[in-house]
């Protein structure tokens, strides 16, 4: 990976991190309605994967989707506005955090039903094949989603039809309070690729460059008409599952160990070591990112709620 790309990757990850920290701060102020699933700790995956994608490529996201949005190029202000339920949000306030989408950058939407996005991604892949373009779909989902019937049906169908879809399992070891070993006997979810006759690979999801390079291969494979693959990214969420979850079900040592593997600190260290960035450059990026996030937050806060009657609009097209 070349220097400029790595720096871009770093900036993207930082954007996600600081965005999520801002969301966290705002919900401390009680202005974020509903629940929230933060992506903190998993930034390398969305950023690493999406850095390989073109604007006309697609992604399909989950309940933990802010990072995917940002990585695919959605605007921070409209994303934040949606999370706050404002009229200026991507979905005019109708979707919120768990149902955010930006079709203008190929972000085909989050779904709050775990695993439901998988066959939808297959369908976007089919659409690409039928239209004869060389787009690619990246489909994100969690370890928990890998036990849904849709995982099986959706990936199998993409395999059989050789569709350009890269299935990315963000294995953060837990689905709410349920750890992976409670709900599957295998260690590497990538092994499930065997069942569909497609390539499967596990990668350190906290190593942005590793994610980038693994995704690069799979995306090329897909773009060249060789069909889908399954990439498992091992990672960890720094916070609880959702808004009020103290995540006490996770052993302290495990948490500490993983906090040390922070993907952003990781990449920062590498950038400094390789001399790609000096401390000053780092600081400047942080300032810039902080700045746009503050602006995004302010935009969201200042935006009006949609008028109530809009609830009745857009049921049908």
């Amino acid at each position: 990976m070349e220097k400029g790309k790595i720096i871009e990757l770093y900036r993207k990850m930082l954007e996600i991190r600081l965005f999520e920290e801002k969301v966290f701060e705002l919900y401390g102020q009680n202005i974020v309605p509903g629940t929230i699933h933060l992506y903190i700790g998993e930034e390398a995956i969305a950023a690493g994967v999406c850095s390989n994608l073109r604007k006309d490529d697609y992604i399909v996201s989950t309940h933990r989707g802010h990072g995917h949005c940002i990585a695919k190029g959605a605007r921070l202000d409209m994303t934040m506005a949606e999370i706050l339920g404002k009229k200026t949000g991507y979905c005019r306030g109708k979707g919120g955090s768990m149902h955010i989408a930006d079709f203008s950058v190929g972000m085909l939407g989050a779904t709050a039903v775990v695993g439901a996005g998988i066959p939808i991604a297959t369908g976007a892949g089919l659409s690409i094949k039928l239209r004869g373009t060389d787009q690619v779909v990246a489909c994100f989902f969690g370890d928990g989603a890998a036990n849904q019937g849709t995982f099986h049906e959706g990936i199998n169908l993409a395999a059989v039809w050789k569709l350009p879809v890269v299935f990315i399992c963000e294995n953060n070891l837990y689905a709410m309070g349920t750890c992976q070993s409670q709900v599957m006997l295998i260690k590497d979810i990538a092994e499930r690729a065997t069942a569909y006759g497609i390539p499967g690979v596990s990668v350190n999801g906290n190593d942005a460059i590793a994610v980038y390079e693994t995704a690069e291969k799979a995306i090329k494979h897909a773009r060249h008409g060789n069909g889908p693959s399954l990439i498992e990214c091992k990672t960890y969420r720094h916070k609880g599952h959702s808004r009020f979850d103290p995540a006490t079900y996770r052993p302290k040592e495990e948490v500490e160990e993983w906090l040390k593997k922070d993907p952003i600190q990781n990449l920062k260290r590498q950038l400094l070591e390789k001399g790609y960035l000096l401390n000053a450059g780092m600081a400047q990026i942080e300032r810039e990112v902080n700045d746009i996030i503050e602006k995004a937050a302010q935009f969201a806060i200042d935006s009006p709620y949609p008028p109530p009657e809009e609830a009745l609009e857009n049921v049908y097209a």
Partner: protein
């Protein structure tokens, strides 16, 4: 039977062929239209042979056999629909929509709304409902009412070849997800269908028989039983108006209410289980909006609340027929 408005020629064809023609014409017209489903391709051509010849005509890429994965069939169709295609998904039996309810109710129907109108979901789901062929509890249900209860979804319930073709073409040309309910026993029934191109707008009921004394609102195969009942009662001098809503969402309330205003009596006949079924919504709507025009209680003719049994005498007993319609009419006339 309402007449076609154009002045083109009519031919008599089956309901099955009418549906097939609609598929064929729309696939020709618009190459983003494609079909997917289990055994719809050249090997089997649909469990009810509706897709006969289509794989030959359009190739296996546009008439796609799928694995037995109902959830993925609909999910895949949703994904294709929001990215520029117009999928028509077949679920082999209506009872099996149960396997795809999340994709139908939570994804297909809600995406346009949830995402603030960023995406359209032009998706047609075709599936056969109904009993009468002794294939028991897992292959005979009528579940239209569930789909009426899903905001964002349209529901078509054609009873004739003419309606089937015209409504299906409208459905395919539309921008919304729609469940297109067919009835197993209707496939071989015949009716006049124009040679020329035509469509039927959604939400326009058809008065299949005019009458002054009582209104029957009937759907799907029950339309024909209602017409038979009307014919029999005509001999006694009773004028039964048979109103076929043709689509349940949108529902043509006005035509129904106007008919009730005229006759003052209402029977509703549908093949699904009675409780919380199709007949419930129509009865409730009239009780809300036109109760003052009623001269008698509303009556519903529907399946009793049982699964569909296998044995012929049992199945015959639960599926409402002309005798039950007539008996019910006599209760309020």
């Amino acid at each position: 039977m309402s007449m076609h408005n154009g002045d083109g020629k009519m031919r008599v064809i089956t309901y099955r062929d009418a549906i097939r023609e609609a598929l064929l014409e729309e696939m020709k017209r618009d190459n983003t239209v494609f079909l997917l489903g289990e055994d719809i391709g050249r090997c089997w051509e649909g469990a009810f042979k509706v897709t006969k010849g289509l794989a030959e005509e359009f190739g296996d890429e546009r008439v796609r056999d799928t694995p037995i994965s109902e959830s993925a069939i609909i999910g895949t169709a949703v994904g294709a629909a929001i990215t520029g295609m117009k999928p028509i998904a077949e679920i082999m039996f209506g009872d099996l929509t149960t396997l795809a309810m999340d994709q139908i109710a939570n994804q297909a129907a809600k995406i346009h709304y949830m995402f603030g109108a960023q995406a359209k979901v032009p998706l047609v789901i075709r599936t056969p409902f109904g009993g009468g062929v002794n294939i028991a509890a897992h292959h005979s249900q009528s579940l239209e009412a569930w789909f009426m209860h899903i905001p964002g979804l349209l529901v078509a319930v054609p009873s004739t070849a003419y309606d089937a073709k015209g409504l299906l073409k409208t459905a395919i040309q539309g921008s919304n997800p729609i469940i297109f309910c067919e009835h197993k026993l209707l496939y071989p029934t015949e009716g006049p269908v124009p040679e020329e191109d035509y469509t039927i707008p959604l939400g326009i009921a058809d008065i299949k028989n005019e009458g002054e004394d009582l209104t029957i609102v009937a759907t799907m195969f029950m339309v024909h039983k209602a017409l038979n009942a009307a014919r029999m009662l005509k001999k006694e001098g009773l004028g039964i108006e048979v109103v076929d809503p043709r689509t349940l969402v949108p529902l043509d309330k006005k035509t129904i209410i106007d008919s009730v205003k005229k006759t003052g009596r209402l029977v509703i006949a549908a093949e699904d289980c009675k409780t919380a079924g199709v007949t419930a919504e129509i009865a409730a709507m009239v009780a809300e909006e036109a109760i003052d025009y009623l001269d008698a209680p509303i009556r519903r003719v529907a399946e009793p609340d049982t699964p569909i049994p296998f044995s012929p005498p049992l199945e015959k007993y639960v599926i409402p027929d002309e005798r039950r319609i007539i008996k019910t009419i006599r209760e309020i006339i």
